[in-house]
Symmetry: C2
Subunit: 395 residues, 2 copies
């Protein structure tokens, strides 16, 4: 047996970050038979526990990123926190190698696209320039500016950190000038946004490859509490077909406009004023976890196919409906002791645990149920998630 | 953060062997959030390439098995080749630890069950004693005995190696006394079996837990060439519901009778004489690869649930029909170069590659297609598998 008989080595994707998104991408990479590496902060990170090719390092340190990139064909991301100047340096390194006739790792999505997930004010301004409907917003540095916004839009006013927020962090809904003053007292750069009325929060998940191929998943409803996603219902119940198509179209156009490669998740408010874009993410997204069982191609496989510039997979549903519920850490950490009950109570529930330390409020897993009776699916998913977290049936 | 907050550590399953079955079991273990180790012959083994906790060692060496077993809660198997005396020693070690109030790894399935996959003559005799319909068989040591069988059953006569055969190896269909004499000249212990007429080969896959819970997958048709599985059609086309139930019931009863823990795959001939048992396997099985996408619970997750004595998952289909085709190595090893075509031609085909060296005739992956038109599914799966292997569309 010579090396030749193994054939050209499989392409290697390196994912910066080793949270649950990298962990679930690792599962998809195993299926595709490609190489997959993660850059983990610690050996106990969710994906580091399961990935055979883990490097421990600091994603804010360029030398670590460059060392990690060596041997990868594509670099992609579990989160949006790699500093923009490092992304630029990685892209320059790849261009230099290409200039020298070698292939360096392609950075997908690229820094120019990722910028709009890292700087929410830049994102708002870019979307407005592109004509995408968004909540009204304004840069603010003092209370007078906030009050001027409120005079136009009414209270409450939403203040958002320009960088670094996620899962409800970095977002403050201020009902009064006093509350706004309290937020402005923090050493955080914020901007103001109107607090829009909505009937439902939606997410439109699409993939786009460097070739420009696009694929759109069914639009889902996300159920949030305190800015944190608790449930995802696919497809979004009661959403008119035309509205769903509009959201998919908008997400595909945005992906092309921002030159996204990989996944783009567009979080939307649906209300009397139509669809408004709330947030963007350029990676697998909590609103797409249901696709592991619920779609013909999971979002994790789709992201890998997209960043490898392979033809995209069928994004359509594998069942009429799917409900996903996140599992949050609670006081009692003995999740495995509760597996028996959850699995016996509902042999059809699909449990995913991330191997993360149990801390109150932390996302440590999710459950998915497929079928054709959304109210029933939702109650099954909620019950299983609540029981896993606490040992009680919950609501 | 104290260790307590992580909670009791997840259970650890150790799988002896690191082929594609272990590789796909690894994917399922990641989802369940349990610990998973493999004992690999070499670091290049299919599962060793992707499993974060791989030990390299020799499954025929008891010290390696004992070292591997340390830290595992359950030991299970990717193949049936661990010597019976070592299985017994592992079970004694676990019993001794249990006697000392510690918990050693449970061996699942146990050696007493695995014996019937290791010794085909013992299997035949046990099944006959249990009243399970099988092809007629007889121990033979010389041509006179073979000819005596042929006088009863007619030629051809099947000669089977008592131990060590798989994928068509160790099975000889002898049309004449001269061919039989040629087989008997090998230094291999064989027995004779009647060459049964059949309309289709079926497989009934069931799981059984130490608690005694059982779950049966839909009965499938396997399409074999030269004793090697090429395609699996789920559910078996044209199989009468009563016959399918009979096969499931037989497999569940056999699992209980043989005290199998984990999966039991029963390969069957379906013909004018009804169902006859051909082979048994006590592990995930090629005839169950379609369950990854095609069933609510994949055979790999089901095996883990069973050996961990967790409640079993819903084995029912996730689509009306599924077709699976194996990908065999051919002359040209550049599988990844052909991904683009296969994925572009059929966005709904699910490709699984095992990371194995490409050797002509070797199983290196499989593809699955779900839908509701078996002829179409089958042709899509065959085309994708043939193209991946050779770069040609095949039949």
């Amino acid at each position: 047996m010579t090396d030749d008989q193994r054939g050209p080595r499989p392409p290697v994707v390196g994912m910066v970050g080793a949270g649950q998104l990298a962990r679930m991408t690792c599962q998809a990479a195993i299926g595709l038979g490609i190489g997959f590496r993660v850059l983990a902060g610690t050996p106990d990170d969710s994906a580091a526990l399961v990935c055979a090719d883990t490097m421990t390092g600091d994603y804010t340190a360029l030398p670590d990123l460059l060392a990690f990139a060596r041997g990868c064909d594509v670099l992609t991301f579990d989160h949006e926190h790699v500093p923009g100047e490092h992304l630029a340096a990685l892209e320059r390194a790849a261009a230099d190698k290409a200039g020298a006739g070698q292939s360096g790792p392609a950075v997908r999505p690229g820094g120019a696209a990722l910028r709009y997930t890292q700087d929410k004010l830049a994102m708002r301004e870019r979307l407005r320039a592109f004509g995408v409907p968004c909540p009204r917003h304004a840069p603010v540095t003092d209370l007078a500016a906030v009050s001027a916004c409120a005079a136009d839009w009414g209270w409450p006013i939403v203040l958002k950190a320009v960088t670094g927020g996620y899962d409800g962090r970095g977002v403050w809904v201020c009902g009064t000038p006093e509350e706004a003053a309290g937020v402005l007292a923090h050493p955080v750069v914020v901007f103001a946004e109107e607090n829009v009325a909505f009937d439902a929060e939606l997410a439109a998940l699409v993939a786009r490859s460097p070739h420009g191929q696009g694929a759109a998943y069914p639009v889902v409803q996300t159920v949030q509490r305190g800015g944190v996603c608790h449930e995802v219902l696919a497809p979004a119940p009661g959403l008119a077909a035309g509205r769903a198509r509009e959201a998919q179209q908008m997400a595909l156009e945005l992906a092309a406009e921002l030159d996204v490669t990989g996944l783009l998740a567009v979080e939307l408010f649906a209300g009397p004023a139509g669809l408004l874009v709330n947030e963007l993410a350029m990676r697998p997204h909590n609103s797409g976890h249901w696709t592991i069982e619920g779609a013909r191609t999971s979002q994790f496989e789709q992201h890998l196919r997209a960043v490898l510039d392979l033809p995209l997979g069928d994004p359509w549903m594998a069942a009429p409906q799917a409900a996903m519920a996140n599992v949050f850490g609670a006081a009692s950490p003995d999740i495995f002791g509760r597996y028996e009950h959850v699995m016996a109570a509902d042999p059809g529930v699909k449990v995913h645990l991330y191997g993360k330390q149990v801390r109150p409020g932390r996302k440590i897993g999710h459950v998915t149920v497929l079928g054709s009776d959304m109210a029933g699916l939702r109650s099954r998913a909620r019950r299983a998630a609540a029981y896993l977290a606490t040992g009680e049936e919950g609501e």
